[in-house]
C-alpha cells in the first residue's frame, strides 16, 4: 500500500507542473501587451510601463517568469493585481463562497442520486426504472443555464419559494437553488452510475448467499448491495468536486454570486493575467488533489487496484 501511495504521489508532480505550465503559457504567450493596454486611449508613460513590467517580471524569459510564479504559489505569495489588491486576498474572499456552493451541490447529488439510483436499480426493467432513466437523460441534455433560468422563473418568481439570486454574502438558504442547479447534471450521472452498479450487484453470488442464510431483504440491500455498489459512485463524487468548482462559473453568473467564477471572468476581461493564472492554478490543484484522494480511497476500498 505504501508503495502504491508513493508511486501515485510521484505521478502527481509532473502532472501539476505540466498543467500549470500549459495554463501559464496559454495566458502569457498570447499576442497583445496587457501593460500597454492599461492606460487606455492615452497610454501610460514609458517609465511607468517599464516599472510595471519590472514588478511583474515581464522582462524575464518566459520560463523564468513561470518559475517565479511557481515560487509564489508555494509560498502563498501570489503578488498584487493591477489594481493593487493582494491576489491571495482576492482569492480568500472568492473561494469560500464557491467551496460552500460546490459542497452543497455535492451533498444534493450524492443524496438524491444514490437514492433514486438505488430504487431504479432494484427495480431494473420496471416502469419506475425506465421513467427515471429517460428523465435522467433529459436532465443531462438540458444545459445548466437553461435549468437555472427555468428554476429562477418557476421556483423563484412564480412560486416564490426560494430567493431568485444570491448576491453578496449569500447564506445557506439563498445558495440552495444555485446548488440544486449546479448539481443537476452530476445528479443524473450519479443516479445512472448507482443504478447500473446496483443492478449488477443484485445478482452477485454474495447477495444470494446473504439471502440464503436468512437475512431480510432490506438489510441485504443496505449492508451488501448498497455498500458494494457505492465504490464507483464515491470515486465519481470525489472527482466531481473539482469539476463542480471549475464549472460553477455559469451558475455563479446566473445567480449573481461573487465566487471564483465571477472573479475569474472579470479578471479575464480586464486582462489581469496574474489573477487568471493564480485562480486557475488553484482550481487545477483542487482537481488534482481530489482525483488523488479518490485514487487512494479506491485502492483502500478495492484491493485489486493496489496490486495491478
Amino acid at each position: 500500500m505504501l508503495w502504491y501511495i508513493g508511486r501515485r504521489l510521484l505521478q502527481v508532480i509532473p502532472v501539476f507542473l505540466g498543467a500549470t505550465l500549459l495554463l501559464y503559457g496559454m495566458v502569457f504567450l498570447r499576442p497583445g501587451d496587457p501593460v500597454a493596454a492599461l492606460g487606455g486611449e492615452r497610454g501610460l508613460p514609458e517609465a511607468v510601463q517599464e516599472q510595471i513590467r519590472e514588478q511583474y517580471n515581464l522582462n524575464e524569459p518566459f520560463i523564468v517568469q513561470y518559475l517565479l510564479f511557481l515560487k509564489g504559489v508555494f509560498t502563498l505569495d501570489f503578488g498584487v493585481d493591477f489594481r493593487g489588491r493582494e491576489i491571495a486576498e482576492v482569492m480568500a474572499t472568492a473561494f469560500p463562497v464557491t467551496i460552500q456552493l460546490a459542497l452543497m451541490a455535492l451533498a444534493i447529488e450524492a443524496v438524491f442520486g444514490v437514492g433514486f439510483g438505488l430504487f431504479a436499480g432494484l427495480r431494473k426493467g420496471k416502469f419506475f426504472d425506465g421513467t427515471v432513466l429517460v428523465l435522467s437523460l433529459l436532465v443531462i441534455a438540458v444545459p445548466t443555464f437553461v435549468i437555472g433560468f427555468v428554476m429562477q422563473i418557476v421556483v423563484g418568481v412564480n412560486l416564490g419559494w426560494l430567493p431568485v439570486t444570491a448576491g453578496r454574502d449569500p447564506n445557506f438558504y439563498s445558495l440552495l437553488m444555485p446548488a440544486m442547479v449546479l448539481a443537476a447534471t452530476s445528479f443524473a450521472y450519479v443516479l445512472r452510475l448507482t443504478r447500473t452498479s446496483v443492478a449488477e450487484n443484485i445478482s452477485a453470488d454474495y447477495v444470494r448467499t446473504a439471502r440464503a442464510k436468512g437475512m431480510s431483504g432490506s438489510s441485504v440491500t443496505s449492508r451488501h448491495v448498497l455498500r458494494n455498489s457505492l465504490i464507483p459512485v464515491v470515486t465519481f463524487l470525489g472527482a466531481d468536486l473539482g469539476s463542480l468548482m471549475g464549472g460553477a462559473i455559469v451558475t455563479e453568473g446566473i445567480f449573481n454570486i461573487a465566487g471564483v467564477g465571477g472573479t475569474l471572468f472579470q479578471a479575464i476581461s480586464r486582462g489581469e493575467n496574474v489573477t487568471v493564472v493564480s485562480i486557475t492554478t488553484v482550481l487545477v490543484m483542487v482537481y488534482i488533489v481530489a482525483n488523488l484522494v479518490v485514487d487512494l480511497l479506491y485502492a483502500v476500498l478495492d484491493p485489486r487496484i493496489r496490486y495491478a
Binding site: M26, P31, V284
Partner: protein, 326 residues
C-alpha cells in the same frame, strides 16, 4: 415424450434403426448431435450483428435515430424548413411580437422570426459537435492506441501527457482560451473543445487496446508474419472500437452543450453566427417581458443533445452482452 427428447437433426430419422431398438443409444444423443444440428448456412454471429439485433427491437433506438436524422437534416438544409432568412427578414417593428400565422413562435428582441432562428441554429451546434468529436476520436485513438500497443516509454510519456490535459477541466480551459482567441468561428470553438476533450477517449482506447492485444488472434497474425502496425490497424483497433464508439456518441452531446455554454457566456460563437447558445443568452434579457421565448432555442438544444446521448446509451446496452441477456 420420446418425441421431444433429442434435438431434430436434419436428414436423420428419429425412428431407431432396425435391430437397434433396444440396446443402442440413439446416434444423436450428446454433443455430436448438437454439432450436427448447427445450420452452417446461417450467417455467423458477431458482436456487431448481435448488437444490431438487440437495438432493432429497442424503441429508444428508433426515437434517438429519428431525432438525430431530423437534426442533421435541419442542419444541412435549413431552407427546406423555413422560407425566411434568420438575419435579413428581421424588422424592429415586430420586436417581441406574439406568435401569428407563419410565425409560430413569435418574434425576438430584434423582430426576427424565432422559428427561423431555431431552425438555422442547428447548423452551428451540429458542426461544432461533429467536428470536435471527429478530432477527438482521431487524436485520442491515436494516442491511446500507441500508448497501449507499444507500451514502454511511449506509454509512460503519452499517459503523463494525457494526465496533464485531463487535470485541466474542459469548460475552464475553454473559457480561458476562447477569451484570448483572436477569431471566433465554429472551427476555433471545435478546435479548443477538442484540444482539451481528447483525454477520456485516449484513456478508453489505451485500456481497450491493452485488453485486446494479448488475444490469440493477435499472436496468430504475428506468427503469420504480419507487421506490428498492420496488426494494430487490422486486428487490434477494430476489436477495441466498441467502447470508443459509445463514448464518442455521448461526447458529441457534451461538446454541443459546451459550445452552447461558451456562446451563452459570450465567448463562444460571435453574434454573426446563428447559434442556440447565443440566442439563449440574448433571449435571457427578455426574461421579465417574454420568458417563454428562451424555451425555443433551449428545446432545440436539449432535443439534439438528448438524441445523441440516448443513442450512446442504446449502443452501450446493445454492445454489452451482460446487459443484453435480460
Amino acid at each position: 415424450m420420446p418425441e421431444n427428447r433429442y434435438p431434430a437433426v436434419p436428414g436423420q430419422s428419429r425412428q431407431p434403426r432396425r435391430g437397434q431398438e433396444h440396446f443402442a443409444a440413439p446416434l444423436d444423443e450428446g454433443g455430436l448431435g448438437a454439432v450436427d444440428a448447427v445450420d452452417t448456412r446461417e450467417k455467423p454471429s458477431s458482436l456487431w450483428r448481435d448488437a444490431w439485433l438487440a437495438m432493432r427491437v429497442n424503441p429508444l433506438f428508433w426515437v434517438a435515430g429519428a431525432i438525430i436524422l431530423v437534426v442533421v437534416t435541419v442542419a444541412a438544409f435549413p431552407q427546406l424548413f423555413t422560407s425566411l432568412d434568420p438575419r435579413l427578414s428581421c424588422s424592429l417593428a415586430n420586436a417581441y411580437g406574439p406568435p401569428q400565422a407563419g410565425h409560430i413562435f413569435g418574434f425576438d428582441h430584434q423582430g426576427c422570426d424565432i422559428y427561423t432562428r431555431v431552425i438555422y441554429g442547428a447548423r452551428a451546434s451540429v458542426i461544432v459537435g461533429v467536428l470536435s468529436t471527429a478530432l477527438v476520436v482521431v487524436f485520442g485513438t491515436l494516442v491511446g492506441a500507441i500508448a497501449g500497443y507499444f507500451g514502454g516509454l511511449f506509454d509512460t510519456l503519452l499517459s503523463r501527457l494525457t494526465d496533464i490535459f485531463f487535470a485541466v477541466p474542459l469548460v475552464l480551459a475553454a473559457i480561458v482560451i476562447m477569451s484570448l482567441a483572436p477569431s471566433r468561428t465554429t472551427v476555433t470553438v471545435a478546435l479548443v473543445l477538442a484540444a482539451f476533450g481528447w483525454t477520456q477517449i485516449a484513456r478508453i482506447t489505451r485500456g481497450s487496446v491493452l485488453s485486446v492485444k494479448n488475444n490469440e488472434f493477435v499472436t496468430a497474425a504475428r506468427s503469420l508474419g504480419m507487421g506490428k502496425a498492420g496488426i494494430l490497424v487490422k486486428h487490434v483497433l477494430p476489436n477495441s472500437a466498441a467502447p470508443i464508439i459509445v463514448y464518442a456518441t455521448v461526447a458529441l452531446g457534451t461538446f454541443i452543450v459546451a459550445e452552447a455554454t461558451l456562446s451563452f457566456l459570450g465567448i463562444g460563437l460571435p453574434p454573426s453566427v446563428v447559434s442556440w447558445g447565443g440566442d439563449i443568452s440574448q433571449y435571457q434579457r427578455a426574461i421579465r417581458v417574454q420568458p417563454e421565448i428562451i424555451l425555443y432555442p433551449a428545446a432545440g438544444l436539449a432535443l439534439t443533445v438528448l438524441g445523441f446521448i440516448m443513442m450512446g446509451d442504446v449502443v452501450r446496452d446493445a454492445l454489452d452482452p451482460k446487459a443484453r441477456k435480460r
